[in-house]
Amino acid sequence: MTVESLYPRLEPLLAQVAKPIQYVGGELNAQIKPWDDVAVHWALMYPDAYEVGLPNQGLMILYEVLNERPDALAERTYAVWPDLAGLMREHGVGQFTVDAHRPVRDFDLLGVSFATELGYTNLLEALDLAGVPLHAVDRDESHPVVVAGGHAAFNPEPVSDFVDCAVLGDGEQVVGDITDVVAAWKEQGRPGGRVELLARLARVEGVYVPRFYAVTYGADGTIAEVLRTRDDVPPRVGKRTVMDLDEWPYPKQPLVPLAESVHERMSVEIFRGCTRGCRFCQAGMITRPVRERTITGIGSMVDAGLKATGYEEVGLLSLSSADHSEIGQLAKELADRYEGTNTGLSLPSTRVDAFNVTLANELSRNGRRSGLTFAPEGGSERIRRVINKTVSKEDLVRTVTTAYANGWRQVKLYFMCGLPTETDEDVLEIAELAVEVIRAGREASGSKDIRCTVSIGGFVPKPHTPFQWAAQASAETIDHRLKVLREAINADRRIGRSIGLRYHDGKPGVIEGLLSRGDRRVGRVIERVWRDGGHFDGWSEHFSYQRWTTAAAEELAPFGVDLDWYTTRERTEHEILPWDHLDSGLDKEWLWDDWQDAISEDEVGDCRWTGCYDCGVCPTMGTEIQIGPTGRSLLPLTVVR
């Protein structure tokens, strides 16, 4: 089959749109393989704007892993802004990959990584632009198999009409298994058509094919039963887990765009998984157990990545980077290695812990101390016990004060509001805390030139967490709490002017909540919103709350449920949840007990240090914690200055 580049027809359109560079590809380390040299063609999509999608680590990893296979190629595609989408429709140019500008329609597979549910409408837009039928059942052998991945794929039910499969868990190995299945099926002359291919894929560990599972509902609107419709697919689909991160040092050649992106740095994932047990955190729950990359593995990835990219900054990525068993030594040895080279090292937002200030000092000793970010998440000690992210107010103030005393001028504090059991008082404590932090910080640093930024957003309960049963706070509740918080911060101008407040109103969170804990009936809402012009829902200038609420009211009414039913309703213990047949390894009873512990403000430890508390993941998945210390150290490395 000849697949032609769409570029000649795209190019005249690019002269008429904003930021055309995002559509031309040609990034450093991008790869283009000849179409006819390989059996299996993957288009990988991040369903948001290029500037957001390009730095995505997951997509970069799969892009390399697939392109390393001699029998496969992978190209990337991103959501197209409305200005270009309009011109593409007008001129009959389909959704294209940025690598070789090949039509997405012609690929064997379209893998879509959903970090957030707000990307769902962008999937529909891309399918429509590609000329692929929106509904999986309407596709034939000539259409790509649409595969959803990423954290949101742990409940793909709301998009189950539109995707052919969802992949649970780590992607590195499963994309290879899927490639093998597709290659064999094509080689055999596509026996049994698309249905047979999907049936074969459904037998790959970690692959869920929604069409082979039937969902029925009871009179009260809850799920009555989820039954498989074929005997040869598993009753429950378990997630995939990659063990030994050192064997998967990807991305080896991170992509470097010409266009500006949201992360102007390279990242090295220093470990995967987290067992801190923060009850709101879906990432921490679904990525267990903790698997560390070794200090030497990290050292060589940092070195190779910097050489391959020319970036000036390296982020040491994970869900809680200071918890790496060798982080102190790692920070020191990396700082030693890059001293005098204008190379910055950074940790993403960290737990509130004095040790993190020490680490940040070490990492920044070659550069500027501008801002430090902590994530206490809950405003009061009480609510922090509920979410299992315990830190006392004294420790919090002391830690932040230490940061100011060490020359950090700006501290950012991340919070959530609308957490289970929360009251106005819990949120108002954020203001007290910020005021105290500034007072103590001015004293400790001897300067008035310090700032504290409070960043706060509404909490959205997520599947596979202890809060999956919780009632989500309404948009009105969130907005009210944000309002009283703002007033409290502004009450004393002399202090308040050193405190910044950044917040998101409660409305997008409600829609995210609908999509997060929704079932298959929510698919009609998504489709309706897209048909009414909805896309780029993660962008406030494109998000329309009214479009969503109207669509939800009208499309859900025939089922006797509504937006509130999905969001502000607390679930009961034995309700069948839409994702119960998808197995993250977490034991549902343990999750329920942890939810009850949350309500009674009981904390749980971290199994790395306090022993196993039977969350269920390791025995179910046949995995184990992989942590150091390894006792190794970074070899001296000659660095060009």
Binding site: P12, K19, I21
Partner: protein
């Protein structure tokens, strides 16, 4: 007094290099900020010993000048870098070229001549080639005549702060029409005034004087950039640096 970082100041600039590079193919859609990022990263990958500014946020010593607009290709973009150690200009050119994506090609690299003056001062005109697919060459020629015959041709530019009127005619030094492979081509030399008159402003002027409206987007290439010489052509802006370095034998460049 402003806070200063601890430790010694960064090493000083010991050599200034001036480079010419291209913006070809799909990379014509890169903005000047995109190019600046790409060049800075390529300098790091190529391990060019850049000099840095002092302060808490040290920046490599790079000056960009006269960037072609987003969407226009170029054979003649220029920038200047300060090095903390001396290097052979040709070796820097080769190493940097190898680290840049295809389409951004480093064509020349010369050492700034002692007393040869600033490079920015030598970039006061551009020779553009504008391909106009679907436009009739005779119609284009008539439009160009009308433009050259006019005293002033105000066109409205869209800027960040709204719109601004600029006299496109005043910037046009010369204009000629050719045909290549059936496509009408406008060769035009434009003075770089403030605000800059760009190829799309020239096209707006042709629309204003003769209602010329191309059916397809025009494709512009900056063929040369430099000082306007007496004959109305654009002179090589690196010439004075080359002359200066051939005059003085100087110390041998270190590899």
């Amino acid at each position: 007094m402003a806070r200063q970082p601890d430790g010694p100041p960064p090493p000083p600039t010991v050599q200034k290099l001036r480079l010419r590079y291209t913006k070809r193919g799909p990379l014509r859609f890169a903005s000047h900020r995109d190019l600046a990022r790409a060049l800075e990263r390529a300098l790091r990958r190529a391990q060019v010993p850049m000099a840095f500014s002092a302060g808490f946020s040290p920046h490599p010593k790079i000056s960009y000048m006269g960037a072609a607009p987003t969407g226009a290709a170029s054979e003649a973009e220029y920038f200047e870098i300060g090095l903390s150690e001396r290097r052979d200009p040709e070796q820097v050119r080769v190493a940097l070229d190898a680290s840049l994506p295809p389409g951004i090609d480093v064509l020349e690299c010369v050492e700034a001549g002692e007393g040869a003056g600033s490079l920015a001062d030598r970039l006061d005109a551009t020779r553009w080639r504008i391909d106009l697919p679907g436009v009739d060459a005779d119609e284009l020629a008539r439009a160009v005549q009308a433009l050259l015959a006019a005293e002033t041709v105000p066109v409205t530019k869209r800027t960040k702060n709204g719109t601004k009127d600029v006299d496109a005619r005043a910037a046009v030094v010369s204009a000629a029409v050719a045909v290549e492979a059936g496509c009408a081509i406008l060769h035009v030399v434009v003075r770089q005034l403030t605000p800059t008159v760009r190829p799309d402003d020239v096209m707006a002027a042709l629309a204003a004087v003769a209602d010329l409206r191309p059916p397809l987007p025009a494709r512009a290439v900056r063929e040369a950039q430099g000082r306007l010489d007496d004959s109305g052509d654009v002179a090589d802006p690196l010439g004075p640096d080359r002359d200066a370095s051939s005059r003085c034998q100087g110390e041998p460049a270190q590899v």
